[in-house]
Amino acid sequence: MSLMQRIRLIFSAKANKALDRAEDPNETLDYSYQKMLEMQQKVRRGVADVATSRKRLELQMKQLQQGSDKLTNQAQTALAQGREDLAREALTRKSGISSQLVDLQAQHAQLQAEEEKLTLASQRLTAKIEAFRTKKETLKATYNAAQAQTRVTEAFSGISEEMGDVGLAVQRAEDKTAQMQARAGAIDELIASGALEDQLSLGGGGDDIDRELAALSSGSDVEAELARLKAASATGAVTAGEAPKAIDATGPAAVADQADPVVQPAETEEPS
């Protein structure tokens, strides 16, 4: 037996099993109508669940994108200051974030497709429920129980197949969403645990690359100050003799000590 016939048989078997449960055709009609309404609720919940997951992914993608943009800026700043090593470090981190971003984008596209499919399934089901409701009332009004049996079976088989189809679509969407939620959860945890914190600390600019860049700029301020003092003391030495020179000799050294990034935390406030 062929593939497509075998799948159909599975669906028919389910329909027949459900049909056997009810003895009175009218009961079958009401029962299946009830089932359809339940299924409609289920599909709508499914659409909402997928949309929630999609929005969560969008938020994460935005966070990662911001992190990536920041690292680009850092790399530019580092390069402008002649620190290729630091720029390289920033770009390495950026490439890690970029690959995660690509992964999330693929998941996002999948969820969007699921959402669309379920929305369409919901529309089809709504149309069928309405058709079935009309048919159900006609059957009840026109035929007695014995006569109605065949026609009820027909109507029921059509709708039962649709229910199986929609049920499967909801289940597949749920499975996919669950897989993605697990991965989205892992990224959230990664962010929360601090493993991505450096890359993603967007507000304060407090990561290690920032600190080093800040130290660089304060370092160059110090150098400029030092050069100025040196120039001044050289002039002073000519005019005022030995004593001021000795004081100046300790001055620049003390300033140079402060240029150490570790003892210069106030400078890290500077935006990157």
Partner: protein
């Protein structure tokens, strides 16, 4: 012949196209049995394509039972195998 593509809807396929459909169906079945993943996806795409191109789509409010049912377009080989043997994929 009424054909359902799971997740998409139903089509009415005239007799002249049934032969082509059967041939593609048998080919797909072989890829499932042989677990030939490479041939499976193109096989499924070709099968569904015949239905979508040659068939006439039924209205959403039709209550007709299908003669045959085809897997969803994004189904994996494993999913199709489960569908054929009813490994709990189709909800009761």
């Amino acid at each position: 012949m009424i054909v359902r593509i799971l997740g998409e809807g139903q089509w009415d396929l005239s007799d002249e196209h049934v032969e082509a459909l059967n041939a593609l169906d048998s080919a797909l079945e072989r890829t499932v049995e042989a677990a030939d993943h490479d041939a499976f996806t193109p096989g499924l795409v070709a099968l569904l394509d015949v239905v979508r191109r040659q068939g006439t789509r039924l209205e959403d409010d039709s209550l007709v039972e299908s003669d045959v049912i085809l897997p969803p377009s994004d189904a994996s080989l494993e999913e199709v195998r489960a569908l054929m043997t009813d490994e709990g994929l189709v909800p009761d």
